[in-house]
């Protein structure tokens, strides 16, 4: 049973890499986890902060990558 599961797990792991021909770099993957975790914490704090501001009638921050803001960035 364990053998079947571990083979399946291996297959699953390697299947993930089938179409990705790049070497992602082990260190790079580790770092992503760290940066993302910190960023998510920061984002959560910020969104609570903006919720409070919103309560007082002030606008919120906008994402650089969301489409609605594309025109705004172009004029910067």
């Amino acid at each position: 049973m364990i053998r079947v599961l571990s083979v399946l797990l291996l297959l699953f792991t390697y299947a993930q890499h089938a179409s990705a021909y790049l070497d992602p770099g082990t260190g790079s993957m580790v770092l992503q986890g760290i940066i993302a975790a910190l960023a998510v914490i920061g984002f959560t704090i910020k969104s609570y902060w903006y919720k409070i501001r919103g309560f007082f009638g002030k606008g919120g921050s906008s994402s650089l990558l969301e489409e609605e803001d594309e025109d705004a960035q172009r004029t910067e």
Binding site: S19, Y21, L22, P24, Q32, G33, A36, F43, L65
Partner: protein, 470 residues
């Protein structure tokens, strides 16, 4: 069916040329993902937003691939290919933001980019566009972004180096075909960048952590790193962080000798206006259709703008990054949009690099054009760079059918400046010598003195050009 020498790494498919057009083969192994991508709505979304190149599927058998072909697609043809080491700061920055926007959008549809190479981007109508239609893979929740490192090397590192160390460092992309190594970037960036949270994370820390884990692959005990999880929210946060980092990078343009060129030239207003009229007339007088016009030594593109009225596309090249940057900024906001500014040193232009020295084509292989503008440049090639006029004529004759070229004589104040600190060994650099050297390769159709100056403008036709029917 000739596979392109740049397209071989991705097992999902490859690009080939056939009867003068470029096609992409989608391999059977990629069929499910491709169909998914096309039907998910992501393809349409990206094309509608002008981010991804559109394509048609070839159903009439006009182009065939190999036995592994699932589909043959024909993308919108890009008339001129340029490379990241030829781009100005803002061009590279816009290409970086494009890549991030696409990755962010792709996530909404359950896809990720398999790679984040700067070579996935080309410029069309003064805007960057993503050309690698097969770069999309299904997103597996929890899996980190496989292209993060490549993004940092291809985009973030060179942009940071251009902003903080020296703008010329984008040329490192010539010697490092897979982007600037983070360890190198980390060493070259000034210490103050370590105080910048984003640069500290994505470059300095990234470089250290890479070195730390370099041997992990061979160590069976370190399986934890392979199982690093990254939630979708985390990936979005990572993308936002990268976007903020890129957006905040700005290059303070130094005052180069070329930046205020048009204010410091020796042209009077009359001469400028007359020269513009002359160039305009010469271009109008060319009987052939002008698909591509090359403007060598274009500076901020003043004459490229005139050429843009006469040709479908103008490649506006100059050695000065400041001039090219100003040219690009103006085009992307005010137009004309059929100009592509690029950085190029004509005495040592882009070489062919990569596998077999053929993966990324040299400047020469891409310089074929219908008309060539060589204004206020000849003295830099012949005198500053000691290139004999005959050599210059030969090179140009191999590229173009028509040339509009300005001869700048020794009596001109600019040439006097060039000769001020050196021996004048240029005995054959005279108007007669110039006409003699060029007559070997070109026939002089028209010539006119530029009023209020010592210079002469010529319209010449290459002798090797097919004769125009009269």
């Amino acid at each position: 069916m000739e596979p392109l020498s740049s397209s071989f790494r991705d097992p999902s498919g490859f690009m080939f040329s056939h009867q003068g057009c470029i096609y992409r083969q989608v391999n059977n192994s990629f069929s499910a993902t491709y169909d998914n991508f096309m039907h998910s709505g992501l393809y349409n979304r990206l094309v509608d937003r002008g981010l991804l190149i559109s394509h048609e599927e070839v159903v009439d058998g006009s182009a065939r691939g190999t036995v592994e072909a699932y589909r043959i697609i024909k993308p919108l043809q890009i008339p001129f290919i340029s490379y990241p080491y030829e781009w100005s700061f803002s061009q590279l920055k816009d290409a970086a933001m494009l890549t991030l926007k696409i990755q962010y959008e792709a996530l909404k549809y359950g896809f990720v980019l398999k790679d984040a190479s700067a070579y996935n981007v080309q410029f069309l109508n003064s805007k960057p566009v993503f050309i690698d239609t097969l770069s999309f893979a299904r997103y597996t929740p929890g899996k980190p972004w496989v292209a993060y490192k490549q993004f940092c090397q291809h985009f973030l590192a060179p942009l940071a180096l251009m902003a903080y160390t020296d703008v010329a460092l984008s040329k490192l992309l010539i010697t490092h075909i897979d982007g600037v190594p983070l360890s190198l970037a980390s060493k070259l960036l000034p210490v103050k960048t370590r105080l910048n949270y984003s640069l500290m994370s994505h470059i300095h820390l990234h470089s250290k952590i890479q070195q730390q884990h370099a041997d992990d692959a061979g160590d069976s005990k370190k399986t934890t790193t392979k199982n690093t999880r990254l939630s979708e929210q985390g990936l979005k946060a990572l993308l936002e962080s990268l976007a903020k980092t890129v957006q905040r990078l700005s290059w303070k343009m130094p005052r180069t000798e070329w930046g205020d060129y048009y204010e410091k030239t020796n042209y009077s207003d009359l001469a400028s206006e007359q020269k513009r009229a002359l160039v305009d007339n010469f271009l109008r007088g060319i009987p052939d259709t002008l698909e591509i016009i090359q403007d060598f030594g274009a500076n901020t593109g003043e004459f490229s703008c005139i050429a843009a009225k006469h040709g479908a596309l103008v490649i506006s090249q100059d050695i000065d990054p400041v001039a090219v940057e100003l040219n690009y900024r103006r085009n992307s906001t005010d137009g004309p949009t059929n100009i592509l500014p690029l950085i190029q040193d004509f005495s040592a232009p882009s070489p062919g690099i990569g596998w077999g020295n053929a993966e990324r084509a040299s400047f020469l292989e891409r310089s074929r054009c219908d008309a060539l503008l060589v204004l206020a440049l000849i003295h830099h090639l012949a005198i500053s760079n000691n290139v004999p006029l005959q050599h210059i004529a030969t090179l140009f004759a191999g590229m173009t059918d028509w040339i509009i070229i300005e001869f700048v004589p020794k009596s001109d104040s600019q040439v006097k400046r060039l000769l001020a600190t050196r021996d004048d060994i240029f005995t054959r650099y005279t108007k007669e010598g110039f006409e003699h050297a060029f007559s070997g390769r070109f026939s002089i159709e028209q010539s006119a003195p530029v009023p209020d100056s010592e210079r002469t403008l010529y319209l010449m036709k290459a002798r090797s050009a097919p004769s125009t029917a009269t």
